[in-house]
């Protein structure tokens, strides 16, 4: 039942003050012919009943051992992260428009912005977007607004970029007549082909997207790609994994200085790996950072530090003239609600891990993936897909249909990887696998044993 505190006496007195006979009278401006009849909805449940129902549903799904990444990664989440993030003062607060009553959220977002700039090397970060895919779409729109030396509204989208992200970018930016041109990858190394880009050197493009590590888990030659973009007056959008940045060169330092500019122009990505659970797909959060030069083209909320009337430091939302509630049809984006609670979790996560902890997570994930690949490649019919160095994901090629193998693994409680056959038919039977620091040798052994069975079983059929 609804969470209604009113007693019969309260209701009677309130109706008296309003001057009506019953609650129904409050709806007398709604034309009678529009009024809804009885709704066909389930009966109310008590908390005990919903608890039992949800427990049963959860039990159906169980807790399989997971080896998929592909944009959402299973890392250990320290106990304090969600214990604090779900405190009512964070969980049930609104957007910090009343700054004096929201200093906690505002200071936290300022700290978050500082941390994201520390990771990416950029000068300014926003307070979050919905997720990595929609952040990439917003980055494309932002690039079109920002790159004044281009009028093409064409963006280079390598095939080694997460294909779902490419779909989302098309669905969102496509409505503003922005088009995407694919760039092929090296079938041997699994990285974007610089030669494929060279073919476009003489043409007008607005931006080049570089994902590092790319969708296959391979490390791109980011310096060469960035330099190529800047030599051709093309903005570089870096799509990065924040955990990997503890080990990898920050996007602000990609390439060399060309015409006074070095590194990525816009950095975006999926923030989920920073303390946010997999949770069947969300809520996660998208992040975005850029140069100060482009700050007025950036979508989303930004928190600034200022002073109050007594000169004491305090925090407030700033640069709001970019946003929809002021600029309306000329706003940088229609985004309003973002993913504040996930940012709260990420900020606590990054504080607990710090530079050394984050590096240890990145390092352990990379080593575990190395161990996983070595173990699985010992199984007959399994081999590595690409030669380029990997971070914490890699492509494996199978001599049996990946779908059958993955189904057999799932029957043994293992989610073995992502079937790439549909997205990249040229690879044949391929799957993308991932291990993070949460996968121990015993888990990898279990996977290898199950894969050995699955490969021979599907061989027999």
């Amino acid at each position: 039942m609804a969470f209604i505190p009113h007693t019969a006496e309260d209701i009677a007195r309130m109706l008296g003050v309003i001057g009506v006979n019953g609650i129904e009278d409050l709806f007398d401006e709604i034309p009678a012919e529009l009024r809804a009849g009885a709704l066909s909805l389930p009966e109310p449940l008590s908390e005990m009943e919903i608890g039992r129902l949800m427990g049963e549903r959860a039990a159906i799904d169980g807790r399989p051992l997971n080896f998929i990444g592909a944009g959402a990664y299973e890392h250990h989440i320290p106990a304090p992260v969600w214990s604090i993030a779900t405190r009512g003062e964070f969980y049930s607060a609104y957007t910090p428009y009343q700054a004096e009553a929201s200093q906690g959220t505002l200071q936290l977002v300022y700290e978050y912005q500082s941390m994201m700039c520390a990771l990416t090397g950029m000068e300014v970060s926003n307070a979050s977007l919905y997720d990595g895919a929609s952040a990439l779409a917003e980055a494309c729109l932002m690039a079109v607004r920002s790159n004044r030396s281009s009028s093409s509204r064409r963006i280079l989208m390598p095939r080694a970029v997460n294909p779902t992200y490419a779909q989302v970018a098309r669905a969102i930016a496509g409505n503003q007549d922005i088009s995407f041109v694919p760039v092929d990858y090296d079938r041997f190394a699994g990285v974007t082909l610089l030669e494929a880009l060279e073919a476009y050197s003489a043409q007008d493009f607005t931006a080049l997207i570089v994902q590092q590590p790319n969708f296959f888990g391979s490390l791109e030659e980011v310096d060469a790609l960035t330099n190529w973009a800047h030599e051709n007056k093309i903005l570089l959008i870096a799509l990065v994994n924040p955990i990997s940045l503890a080990l990898l060169k920050p996007p602000a330092q990609w390439g060399t200085e060309i015409a006074g500019v070095r590194g990525a122009d816009i950095v975006c990505g999926e923030g989920q790996s920073l303390g946010v659970p997999l949770a069947s797909g969300g809520p996660y959060f998208g992040f975005m950072a850029t140069r100060m030069h482009y700050v007025r083209q950036m979508p989303g909320r930004i928190v600034g530090r200022t002073v109050d009337t007594e000169g004491r430091p305090g925090f407030s939302l700033t640069l709001q003239a970019r946003e929809q509630h002021i600029r309306r049809s000329k706003a940088t984006s229609n985004i309003c609600t973002n993913q504040g609670l996930m940012v709260t979790a990420a900020t606590i996560y990054m504080s607990l891990l710090g530079p050394r902890g984050l590096e240890a997570v990145a390092q352990a994930s990379m080593q575990r993936t190395g161990e996983l690949i070595s173990a699985l490649c010992q199984v007959a019919g399994v081999k590595r897909g690409f030669t380029a160095p990997h971070f914490h994901e890699a492509v494996l090629l199978l001599d049996r249909p990946a779908a059958e193998v993955l189904a057999a693994l799932y029957r043994k409680g293992i989610i073995g990887g992502l079937d790439l056959s549909e997205r990249y038919p040229e690879l044949g039977s391929a799957m993308l696998v991932c291990a993070t620091e949460t996968k121990l040798s015993v888990d990898i052994d279990r996977y290898r044993a199950a894969l050995t069975d699955a490969m021979s079983a599907s061989c027999a059929t």
């Binding site: 401006e29 949770a279 200022t306 049809s329 710090g354």
Partner: protein, 497 residues
């Protein structure tokens, strides 16, 4: 030492090299994988190095500087700040749900919840199909308008380039129309808060793609001419988009589908009580009439032979596509599902009833104290507008002053200066979960502030007085941009060097 203060240092100021919450660090893993030299990071990122207790205390103290529903009455108009039941969070955070990777085999337990949620939202809005994919209201709006565009295009009706939006609309409406490649045509409202029908008739044309409407409107009143509006727009070949911002007001009383709307977004974080989280996440599920079904954003949950599965491009080839990397804000949707099951058929209708009771009671009481309602002849929906234009003239106090002073009395401020049409306005939405006593206390505070306007206006102008900070210098914030902590460079030097 200084006296105890509410100020909390930045987490970076608590940091010392070599310190760390080491229990949270993963054990070392031996291995031979190396990052190539040219791709390697040269110096560690300037993240804080603090102990676990320092982090816990810091963020707990920050939380204590926030107003929230759990701690304060939060009558923020248009935002529906009602109680977020704890059960919704607890049961959405069961480890099986939290641990599930979105790209694994379809989890039948979770999908059963999503499938049923789609059905309940469909029933309650009177629409024909629902997609849970959009991640917030603004993305739901985007999906809605993109579907309108896809619909016209599929019919080769390419001359439709305009979206009509009433002046009082939320800023996301015109911003969304632009994102979808449309131009915006604004139309006025009449003196009673209804859409000006004559202006609408002049505005519609073969260029009209559709209209975006909120009902009850942002003015806190039910749009009485909705049937006429729907007919006018449909006759011109346009479609009707329903902005679900105010759905709480009419839950179970009247359904957008029955009013003639073709597409609607719902803010699950308002109407279905998932948390606002200090700015998000929300969820902006969309519902459509039969003619827009083919264009819904993906994925959607389908059911075949007692198995649930994600419907994808193969099932809906005309879809406007994907808006998120995975399945939208799945965990938010799960909370909305739990909320709806707790309320059930009977509870759902009571939401609108008691939201309306609280709003109309509060409006009458504030009028009795002497405040002027913007639309005194109308029933309040679930919210209403007070205008302080008289007080502004008489005592030089602004709506902002009253809002800030309310914080000192322990109430979150109502929405101020929205809608822009009404001068010096406060948009007040009490929601159904507040008790009469709390509404009465709010009225007492407003009466007291009214006295202060007369006798001590300076007290209002300089409010708030009891918060961690006084009013902030927004001009300085925007001119001397200080957006990140700049101690990074100094921080990287080892201590004592």
């Amino acid at each position: 030492m200084t006296e105890l203060s509410l100020r909390e240092p930045l987490i970076f100021e608590l940091s010392k090299p070599g310190r760390g919450a080491v229990t949270q660090f993963p054990p070392n893993v031996a291995g031979s994988v190396r990052v190539p030299e040219n791709l390697r990071r040269r110096s560690p990122p300037a993240l804080p190095e603090v102990s676990e207790l320092q982090a816990v205390r810091h963020f707990t103290r920050l939380s204590q500087m926030n107003f929230s529903i759990d701690t304060h009455f939060y009558p923020l108009g248009s935002c529906t700040m009602k109680y977020n039941p704890k059960a919704c969070n607890t049961y959405a955070m069961l480890p099986e749900f939290l641990g599930r990777h979105p790209l694994g085999p379809e989890p039948q337990g979770f999908l059963a919840c999503m499938y049923e949620l789609q059905g309940m939202l469909q029933e309650i809005t009177g629409m024909q199909a629902v997609s849970l994919t959009p991640m917030a209201g603004a993305q739901g709006e985007f999906a809605g308008v993109a579907m309108i565009r896809a619909y016209h295009r599929a019919r080769n009706d390419t001359g439709r380039t305009e979206i009509i939006v009433p002046q009082a609309a939320h800023g996301t409406n015109p911003a969304t129309a632009t994102m979808c490649g449309y131009t915006v045509r604004e139309i006025p409202c009449d003196a009673n808060g209804d859409v000006d029908i004559e202006a609408l008739k002049l505005a519609v044309s073969p260029a009209t793609a559709g209209i975006m409407l909120t009902n009850p409107s942002t003015l806190g009143v039910f749009e009485r001419k909705i049937v006429q509006i729907a007919r006018t727009v449909h006759e011109a070949g346009g479609l009707l988009y329903y902005d679900g911002a105010n759905l709480n007001a009419i839950l179970g009383k009247v359904r957008p589908g029955d009013m003639g709307f073709d597409v609607i977004h719902m803010n699950l974080h308002k109407t279905f009580s998932t948390p606002h989280g200090g700015g998000g996440p929300g969820s902006g599920a969309v519902g459509v009439s039969a003619r827009l079904k083919a264009f819904l954003p993906l994925p959607i949950v389908g059911k075949e032979n007692a198995r649930y599965r994600w419907l994808t491009e193969g099932d809906l080839p005309q879809s406007i596509g994907r808006l998120s990397g995975f399945m939208g804000n799945a965990g938010v949707n799960l909370r909305a599902y739990i909320y709806m099951r707790l309320l059930g058929r009977q509870g759902m209708v009571r939401v609108a009833e008691f939201a309306a009771l609280n709003a109309n009671y509060l409006m009458k009481r504030l009028q009795a104290i002497g405040f002027e309602a913007a639309y005194p002849k109308r029933r309040a929906s679930h919210e209403f507008i007070i205008t302080l234009k008289q007080e502004h003239k008489a005592y030089h106090v602004s709506a902002m002053d009253v809002a800030k002073r309310l914080l000192d009395y322990g109430f979150h401020a109502p929405t101020t200066y929205f809608p822009l049409l009404v001068p010096e306005c406060l948009l007040i939405e009490p929601t159904e979960t507040e008790a009469k006593e709390d509404l009465d206390r709010f009225c007492d505070a407003m009466a007291s502030i009214r006295e202060e306007m007369r006798h001590d206006p300076e007290k209002l102008a300089s409010a708030p007085h009891t918060m961690p900070v006084r009013r902030l210098d927004d001009v300085r914030a925007a001119k001397q941009l200080d957006l990140i902590w700049k101690g990074s460079a100094a921080y990287q030097e080892p201590l004592g060097s």
